[in-house]
């Protein structure tokens, strides 16, 4: 079986987000780019599965829609342990466009399990995994917090309101993963970094697809009102303010 992990390239999660002068795009100067945290965990879990020979996982590929500037992120995924990578050479204009490109690649190269993160930390869309599955007409399971392979069949744990369900769907399928899928992201070792340089990274040109949405303006979050400090000797005053000023208790 072959696993594909879709990875997104995002600003490090501690980045102070700034915009260009017209507030129409994010100012990327000085930004440290990383693999989207969820995708890094998906990749980690995929590699853990492959490490166990009884899982029958033969290879782990990563795919990314982005320009050449995102190659360091792809090389990082290879250094962590992915076998090969595919980059679709295009800016990813929206989730629909990105998913259509990834679906096109999956149609050509057969994968059994496709892993996507629940959201990217930049656009917060929660869309790409589900859209890929619909473009391909294959099952998708969302809110997946665990995956294992039992007798050649994937068993997925998904989160539901107030609990979990142990589920299965026939392959090929898309699993959209979140917290729990792996504990800590796997870190690239020196040997991995050396090997990554020579691992195959295939560049594919995009297909013609129109995006459906467009960001026109960015805004900073509205500043919260200044914090009102309460005398630590008299915390009861807080309860009074919550009741009579904020009126929420």
């Amino acid at each position: 079986m072959k696993i594909l992990v879709c990875i997104s390239n995002v600003p490090d999660t501690t980045t102070k987000i700034k915009f260009n002068e017209s507030n129409t795009s994010v100012d990327t100067t000085g930004i440290q780019w990383v693999i989207n945290p969820w995708d890094e965990l998906s990749l980690t879990r995929a590699l853990e599965l492959k490490d166990d020979p009884s899982s029958g996982i033969k290879s782990v590929t990563v795919a990314h829609v982005g320009t050449a500037s995102s190659e360091p992120t792809i090389r990082k995924a290879l250094a962590i342990g992915a076998d090969d990578a595919i980059r679709i050479n295009s800016e990813s204009s929206d989730a629909y466009y990105t998913s259509a490109q990834l679906a096109e690649v999956i149609k050509k190269e057969h994968f059994d399990i496709i892993l996507c993160g629940i959201e990217s930390s930049d656009y917060n869309g929660s869309l790409v995994g589900g859209m890929i599955s619909e473009f391909l007409g294959i099952p998708s399971v969302s809110a997946v917090s665990g995956i294992k392979i039992e007798n050649g069949q994937a068993v997925l744990v998904r989160e539901i309101d107030g609990g979990k369900e142990v589920t299965s769907v026939p392959a090929p399928f898309v699993a959209i993963v979140q917290k729990g899928i792996a504990k800590e992201p796997r870190i690239a070792a020196m040997r991995g970094i050396m090997m990554a340089r020579t691992k195959p990274l295939k560049v594919i040109e995009p297909v013609e697809v129109d995006s459906l949405t467009e960001i026109t303006v960015f805004e900073k979050p509205a500043p919260r009102s200044a914090c009102k400090f309460i005398d630590p000797e008299n915390p009861g005053q807080l309860i009074d303010l919550l009741q009579n000023e904020a009126k929420i208790i």
Partner: protein, 322 residues
């Protein structure tokens, strides 16, 4: 034309979330001069369905089918898209919860409809159709133009007020054919939690961080949550250490919540933590370091030792409830 809103039910009951969705849908419908159709999937009594009418659903469609007992994103999205076509819907509204995240993207591809995901306000404009959404995990907001003819909006939980209107609703039972080859999710086992308040549903949340020092110190925090009728949460290191269950982890890589009141106790306020709670209406911080970044996000703060302050707060709430 119509606005279609998918209102999920939980064992035949709606939640505040469902009414929030219908209230939002009817405000959107007013903006584009049309009416609201609510869609319910699964077994549910009329007496429950009719409640949607109070918030502005003109037509309430109820669909039941054996194959829809288990959430299968493919089967659900095909049913919703079929109804959307029948109702000639130009806007479809779904919650941004687990179910919505499973269904909305598939629906988008089926209907070639752009998605505004996790919206927290009414559309800014209807021509071009522009929505306001969180990006960069709350560090920025974006105006997003949806260019397609049909638009899908997923609404962030607890971001819209309930608005009651005159009830003129009708209920319509509809049978739908579900292709069994589309419902392929098998559930082998369900692990349900106890019946405590769900973190994502709670109006009040009391949350502890590493400043609580030890799992043995949690009793007063839990008691404060109990007397306030709220749920408990924690920061990531706390769940990583196994001090608290993983379900309580809030933040960018945990649960994203938007209660009316979030009380952060011994939490420094790292950006990744704030990403999960910045939608809260009020944030209270209790921390012994007055420089902690959590105070920049909070409206009320107490600088001091949590172990000394929590018991006093519990007493003050008990006094109030007397």
């Amino acid at each position: 034309m119509s606005v279609l809103v998918y209102t999920e039910n939980w064992d035949g009951k709606f939640k505040k979330l469902s009414f929030e969705l219908v209230s939002y849908a009817s405000e959107v419908a007013k903006m584009i001069n049309t009416s609201v159709t609510a869609l319910s999937i699964g077994k549910i009594e009329d007496s429950e369905l009719i409640k949607l009418g109070r918030y502005g659903a003109g037509k309430i469609i109820s669909v039941e089918n054996e194959l829809l007992k288990i959430l299968d994103s493919q089967a659900y999205s095909s049913v919703i898209s079929e109804i959307a076509k029948k109702e000639n819907s130009s806007v479809i509204i779904i919650s941004n919860n687990n179910t919505g995240k499973a269904v909305a993207p598939r629906l988008s591809v089926k209907l070639r409809a752009g998605v505004g995901s996790g919206v927290s306000r009414l559309p800014l404009n209807t021509n071009p159709f522009t929505v306001y959404k969180k990006t960069y995990s709350g560090n920025a907001f974006a105006h997003v133009v949806i260019k397609s003819e049909i638009k899908i909006l997923t609404l962030a939980q607890n971001s819209f007020e309930l608005i009651e209107t005159v009830d003129n609703s009708t209920i319509e039972k509809m049978t739908v054919n579900v292709d069994s080859s589309l419902a392929r999710t098998k559930v082998q086992n369900v692990l349900k939690q106890t019946d405590k308040i769900l973190l994502t549903d709670a109006d009040i949340v009391v949350s502890g961080g590493r400043g609580m020092k030890s799992p043995d110190n949690w009793a007063p925090l839990t008691e404060l949550a109990n007397v306030l009728g709220g749920a408990t949460a924690c920061s990531r290191p706390v769940s990583d250490e196994g001090w608290r269950p993983h379900e309580e982890h809030t933040g960018q890589t945990g649960k994203i919540i938007a209660p009316n009141l979030y009380i952060a106790v011994g939490i420094s306020g790292a950006t990744q933590h704030l990403a999960g709670i910045s939608g809260s209406k009020y944030i209270v911080a209790i921390n012994n370091d007055k420089e902690a970044p959590i105070f920049e996000a909070a409206q009320y703060g107490i600088v001091g030792d949590a172990m000394k302050i929590l018991p006093k707060l519990i007493n003050a709430v008990k006094e109030l409830k007397k």
